[in-house]
């Protein structure tokens, strides 16, 4: 199909795109150890000073704590709601199923600023003060779809005959769920949870509109970059955030064989 020269050209293109994708991320890690205070290339030398300083920065630590609290609570809520939705959609064909499916995907397909502004005016109108809970509500709304997509994809690949066999052998509905369904879908649920955590931990657009005076880690980073302050610390925090967002994805990819990790929704 493809001759030698186009093969070589394609390989070259792939290599260039890979460099384009990964060099910027690698550079951040180097800057985290940069011994100079000035953000210039090439870096002067290596040091752990900024890492120590960042770990002892009370502002960073409290922002990190808030981000983790938000991400954990969001993940728990998204797990329950997303799994329910996937089971409901999978089980029965019903009127409006496509509409419901579309509704769950909508928060990811519309620009985040719309979800943010909509929730902001919703809370304002309802007289609800912005707090950690309003951040969690915002995050859950767009994280549900991640769990939903993962569990649904797995359910669609699970053979109904297994469940029917269990039922035929006299297992009750609960027994079938516990002994057959749950083991089959458990890794997809865990993968969904990992991805929901990563998505929530890094989110900034919706958070800006649903957070009150609190700083999550992304909001802290945004403020520092914008004001050009404490950039050596920003290098460290940003490196850390890359790790926190990448590790769950690697685990999720392991658990699902890569299939359930696409952020682009609704893989068939």
């Amino acid at each position: 199909m493809t001759d030698r020269w186009s093969r070589i050209a394609l390989r070259l293109w792939v290599a260039l795109v890979l460099l384009f994708l990964f060099i910027p991320m690698a550079i951040i890690f180097l800057y985290a150890f940069n011994s100079s205070k000035i953000e210039a290339w090439p870096i002067e030398g290596l040091t752990l000073t900024w890492i120590k300083m960042t770990i002892n920065d009370a502002e960073v630590v409290s922002a990190l704590r808030l981000s983790v609290e938000v991400a954990l609570t969001t993940t728990a809520l998204a797990l329950v709601l997303g799994s329910c939705a996937a089971f409901a959609i999978r089980r029965t064909a019903f009127f409006g199923r496509d509409a419901v499916n579309f509704l769950f995907v909508l928060p990811l397909a519309l620009p985040g600023i719309i979800t943010g502004v909509a929730l902001h005016s919703f809370f304002g109108y309802g007289g609800i003060l912005l707090s950690i809970w309003t951040i969690i509500v915002g995050h859950t709304t767009f994280c549900i779809v991640v769990v939903y997509n993962n569990v649904l994809a797995r359910l669609r690949r699970t053979q109904g005959s297994l469940l029917e066999a269990a039922m035929d052998l006299g297992a009750s509905g609960f027994q079938t769920f516990r002994d057959i369904t749950l083991p089959l879908i458990s890794t997809s649920i865990i993968a969904g949870a990992m991805l929901a955590f990563a998505l929530s931990f890094d989110e900034i657009i919706v958070t800006t509109f649903t957070a009150g005076a609190q700083n999550t880690l992304p909001i802290w980073i945004f403020a520092q970059i914008r004001n050009g302050q404490r950039l050596p610390e920003v290098n460290v925090v940003v490196s850390f955030v890359i790790l926190v967002t990448i590790i769950p994805v690697l685990i999720a990819a392991r658990l699902t064989g890569g299939s359930g990790t696409s952020r682009v929704p609704a893989a068939r």
């Binding site: 953000e39 909509a118 009750s172």
Partner: protein, 303 residues
């Protein structure tokens, strides 16, 4: 669903289970119970918010107290349509979204083609993982990396100078915004393009070759049309995400406004939620049109 329940009775479980689950006998009850919590969440919070956003767009604020005045008026929309500034901002944002989408499609297509049609199974898996990492890796981190690269004493200028070229002042300009958006959304384009290319049956390509089509002819007349729905699916994300983003223009832009910036400052600085709501209707309307177009191209089947 009723047809299924009546027309195809399920085998009754053995006598040992005298009372089969009620959910088994009434399938819709189970669906309803499972669907209630997530659907309630979406309707009571998300749809209610969007509906309120629409209504708020027709309210105004009292210029003296900055309190929201809940009376029906078209002032906000008139302001957007009548002031050339806003039209220019909308035009610039749409142009940027289109430019970013085209850039990503051009970069992604050969990459996805190699992944799907040329690479061995092992390389394919490795490349898929290599796209997944930047897809999920922190947005802010990847944006910040480009600030480090493009700034005056960054990697770009250092590299240019070391080969004897003059320094480029790319940072804090619309060009920087274009580069960063294209970089950040690229994986969103690669994955659906790859999925579409992978689904093309080999037999079609063989048929084209048997009928005497040269390689480029096959790519143009067989591969491209079949990959188009995938690229259209990816473009929904590159386009929509660019349309509403304000972080990148604020942090690495040259001070020019995009829709996202103006919405952001209308709330953050001016505290004029009704005007922000009216302006937020613009990307919603553009995305609605875009989704209709993408559906025509078969993007939804490719998702």
């Amino acid at each position: 669903m009723t047809v299924e329940a009546v027309g195809r009775p399920r085998p009754k479980p053995g006598g040992a289970v005298a009372n089969p689950s009620i959910f088994w006998r009434i399938p819709w009850l189970r669906t309803a119970i499972l669907l209630a919590p997530p659907l309630t969440w979406f309707v009571a919070i998300y749809l209610a918010s969007l509906a309120l956003l629409l209504v708020t767009a027709f309210w105004t604020i009292d210029p003296f107290t900055t309190r929201v005045v809940q009376s029906w008026s078209l002032d906000n929309f008139q302001q957007i349509v009548n002031e050339p500034t806003y039209l220019r901002i909308i035009g610039r944002t749409v142009l940027m979204a289109a430019l970013v989408t085209m850039t990503d499609a051009l970069i992604a297509f050969p990459f996805a083609y190699y992944m799907a049609r040329v690479a061995s199974r092992r390389v394919q898996t490795a490349l898929f993982a290599a796209v997944l990492l930047p897809l999920w890796a922190s947005y802010l981190a990847r944006l910040y990396a480009w600030i480090l690269i493009l700034n005056h004493s960054g990697v770009l200028n250092w590299s240019l100078q070391s080969v004897g070229l003059p320094a480029a002042n790319v940072a804090y300009s619309d060009v920087a915004v274009w580069i960063v958006f294209s970089y950040i959304w690229l994986p969103f384009m690669i994955i659906p393009a790859y999925a579409a290319l992978e689904r093309i049956p080999d037999s079609l390509l063989e048929a084209a070759a048997d009928l005497g089509a040269r390689r480029w002819r096959t790519v143009r007349d067989v591969v491209l049309p079949l990959a188009l729905p995938g690229v259209a699916a990816g473009s929904i994300f590159t386009f929509s995400l660019t349309l509403g983003d304000y972080i990148t223009p604020v942090l690495i832009g040259g001070g020019t406004s995009f829709i996202g910036n103006v919405v952001y400052s209308s709330i953050g600085i001016a505290n004029n939620v009704p005007f922000a709501a009216a302006l937020a209707m613009v990307p919603i309307a553009i995305m609605a049109l875009y989704l209709i177009g993408a559906k025509r191209l078969g993007a939804f089947e490719a998702l």
